[in-house]
Symmetry: C2
Subunit: 522 residues, 2 copies
């Protein structure tokens, strides 16, 4: 796994945009949540990761127990939470004659509180694993931990007290935070209870990712990524309608382009707004796509006018990568995300995304009566023809990608979404895809979302629902309270990071079933 | 090792005394201290604990280095510090895309930052070992750790960042705290540079233990013990003259006697004043002794009048333990501290301490014209005669203790201090002791202090200086910046707690050389 690290990274800060974004900083709604149960995490080969949480007592009995050196207790908060933990601790026995050494292990999934983090050997930083070892010098006390966690389970482990006293956890609670207004949402009452539940979990996932910005995952990376933002925004228009948060995020990206005008794939907002030195072909284009969706959800012409130059700039840059045949140049060191799928060639899906977003940008140009519209239409025609000429394999009836003529799901899906073919041909292609099932498949909910949407736009509603139920329904079957960053029904330990401990189990790009269900009236 | 844990522990709080103590709460003086050097801790069998700190660069070069996963640096603050650490950290490289996981290991001695605490297996709580693992979500930052540490060395260890960035420690500093007024002290200029240095280190030890109360050790137990208080107060009268802090501590003890009027061996002051459920025969008597010393240092008659009943009560209780021969009853489960010496029988040294303190209480009674004086004089005569009759072994020319007629250093030393014999006989006894060197020796600086004072009161000034130089001078040779809780020149790894990692290396009861040097004009 490689990463981008740019040495000479020049950012041209647009202070006005940054100030506009700052003024849209959301208020965080707080809810106090208490654990519901004391649980035991038992080895069980039948369940995901091999660990099953079993209720052993109501959480209200917690204060009846005393914990000494080596004792521990697992608390279940009943649902996924994002927030701040506080613990009220009282000593029992003699006056505490040594500090309390307390370890907290905090997990979204049972596996995280039971498999020791010491054994973690993934390639993402171990600093994402949620644990704390704290020393308490004075008891009784009420501690509020300063860091925000994303979790359902909390393990409290007394590493040491002294032989003279034990401790009682009188109260453990979470101050859950979100910038989503849960009460404002219109619930749906679906005949299909599975879709109903999927809608609810999507909304919970979205809410838990809605903080100061649209975060990708509140456990990890806690950061604003363009690819996630685009999908969150789509789900948001159908649910919370917190459109100012989308606007804020767009201005944050537009506030820190590089010296060529390119927006980064993600930004950091603390201690101050910073562009990451990661640029992804598709994510930059998704700036334009997100602006398109925002405008048509809000009719906010002023914001469109402000951000139009930034959006156009992304397409302009992307078009520069076209070769003389109007096909995107492929190369080994090319940064286009598309999916975590191993060995996926990015050329054709990227070409499709460029066509897809250029069409959106043309629609924006028309709203603005911008002269660039005509030029872009010419580009579209050339790119679409090129795709049909050079990327379509008539014999296989699939789009191919790269010099090895790879047939991937991603290429077909994105070409369908790009509307290169007619609806009928798209339907044919999607059915062919589901029948042949090419080997280079789909790794992330992000790509599954696009599969389902491609089925929907090509008229395969039933198939779309089947895929939704197989994939997101599978997560629910496997115990999801919020939808996961990664899920492979055939390899449930899958992680692109070398360990499922570091996967995020509440992840923005998985929140789209509510969008798909509501938008397409499934 | 056994501990006292009382089940039905009734405390009769004297709120007026507690309020008096509260009003005497000292102001803490703060001094910002920066590290002096970057050091390497090298294995070296020639030095104590087998680890030697070697300077490799001035601390001013710290900010020139970048630290990534697995990197560490040892900082030397040049002298012993008690206070709060703050660290200014800046990232280098790409924007930090994962939290920094930083471990701090904080030690008074080089061994503490080099031998892993994970291997600690002593019987005192591992929670005393000074370390923290912290997660930093936002960089750059300046962190002030909330807990107080006692240290000279700090190891900073980057457990993880991410492949995209490293960190620079721009500044590390300690806000050192003490209630001693360092600038007020009269320094001495001694011809003997060894005694001069010993005086300085004593004062530094005392200052670092002077916090909200006279603590026994700022690393461990950070608590007000009567045995330590008595010695600290003696050193204080010769140096800082912060007599209100002694007064405060006396009222704290007098504020929480049990239902029989006994003062505990130690008290806790946070979150509120609490008596420990530990009672020691000698320590309770030292309340009276400390009041005696306080009164004759201050002439504070009002405080004497207030605390006289408490002091008298301790002697009264102690006298109840005398048998029909006016000898203290011995038993296996008797709680009298005396010393950490293995197998030490406590009977005779306790008898001596009772005589010693009763004499002091008589002097106080005389100041108050209290009628108890006469009664106590009778007791003294009986106890002294009993000691000479039943505890003195004419053949061995030593005091014996317990049914096994144990000959210990402690028995002789305390009988000399108690003044049971004439000065001449005491001198003879002390010389006999130093010549014969009975097997049951001395384990702590606390007992060494009494050895030196016993030599001084019996006219053996030269021998006293020799012992001072052998013992405290030995600590200096072995690298003491402040005097240690425990030191055995013949077994430098000695710990009564199962590990030298948990020993305190700045300990109140070791601070007395300044008292001995100044009081006896050595």
């Amino acid at each position: 796994m490689s990463i981008q690290k740019l040495q000479n990274h020049v950012i041209v800060r647009n202070e006005r945009f940054i100030e506009l974004a700052e003024n849209l900083k959301p208020h965080l709604n707080e809810t106090i949540v208490e654990p519901t149960a004391i649980v035991e995490i038992k080895s069980n080969k039948e369940v995901i990761h091999g660990w099953k949480s079993e209720r052993i007592a109501p959480a209200s009995t917690l204060a009846e127990n005393q914990y000494g050196k080596g004792d521990s207790v697992n608390l279940d908060f009943g649902d996924h939470q994002v927030g701040y933990l506080s613990i009220k601790i009282r000593p029992e026995g003699s006056p505490p004659d040594a500090p309390l050494k307390l370890k907290l292990t905090i997990g979204e999934m049972p596996v995280e509180v039971v498999e020791p983090f010491e054994n973690y050997n993934g390639w993402l930083s171990s600093s994402w694993l949620q644990e704390e070892t704290i020393y308490v010098d004075v008891l009784p006390t009420e501690i509020t931990l300063p860091r925000r966690y994303s979790f359902r389970y909390v393990k409290l482990e007394v590493l040491d007290t002294s032989p003279k006293y034990r401790v009682v956890f009188e109260k453990v609670e979470c101050c859950a935070v979100t910038s989503a207004n849960i009460n404002d949402i219109q619930t749906i009452s679906h005949q299909d209870k599975e879709l109903q539940r999927m809608d609810e979990i999507s909304i919970k996932t979205l809410a838990d990712c809605m903080q100061d910005v649209f975060e990708d995952g509140p456990k990890r990376d806690r950061r604003l990524w363009l690819g996630d933002l685009r999908l969150q925004a789509l789900a948001n228009y159908e649910t919370f309608k917190n459109n100012d948060l989308v606007k804020r995020c767009l201005f944050l990206f537009a506030g820190v382009p590089d010296d060529k005008g390119k927006v980064p794939a993600n930004v950091f907002v603390a201690p101050k707004l910073m562009a990451d030195d990661t640029y992804l072909f598709d994510y930059s284009l998704f700036f334009a796509s997100t602006l398109h969706d925002y405008y048509f959800a809000t009719n906010d012409l002023k914001t469109l006018q402000e951000l139009w130059p930034t959006a156009y700039k992304q397409v302009e840059h992307a078009l520069e990568r076209l070769d003389e045949n109007h096909i995107l140049k492929d190369s080994a060191d090319w940064w286009s995300f598309i999916d975590w799928q191993d060995g996926l060639n990015k050329q054709t899906p990227s070409q499709a995304i460029l066509i897809y977003t250029t069409k959106q940008v043309i629609r924006l140009a028309q709203e603005l009566n911008a002269p660039e519209s005509d030029l872009l239409k010419v580009s579209i025609e050339k790119m679409e023809n090129a795709a049909k000429t050079h990327l379509w394999d008539e014999q296989q009836q699939f789009f191919i990608s790269g010099s090895d003529r790879q047939v991937s799901w991603a290429s077909q899906i994105w070409m369908v979404l790009a509307g290169v073919f007619t609806k009928e041909d798209n339907q044919k292609l999607m059915n062919h895809l589901l029948k042949v099932k090419p080997e280079v498949g789909i790794a992330t909910p992000n790509m599954y979302h696009h599969l389902v949407e491609a089925l929907l736009v090509s008229g395969e509603k039933e198939q779309a629902v089947t895929e939704l139920k197989t994939y997101w329904g599978g997560m629910i079957q496997d115990g999801a309270d919020t939808f996961w960053e990664l899920y492979d029904p055939n390899n449930k330990d899958f992680s692109p990071y070398g360990s499922h401990l570091i996967n995020s189990y509440c992840h923005a790009w998985s929140c789209t079933p509510t969008y798909l269900i509501r938008k397409y009236d499934l």
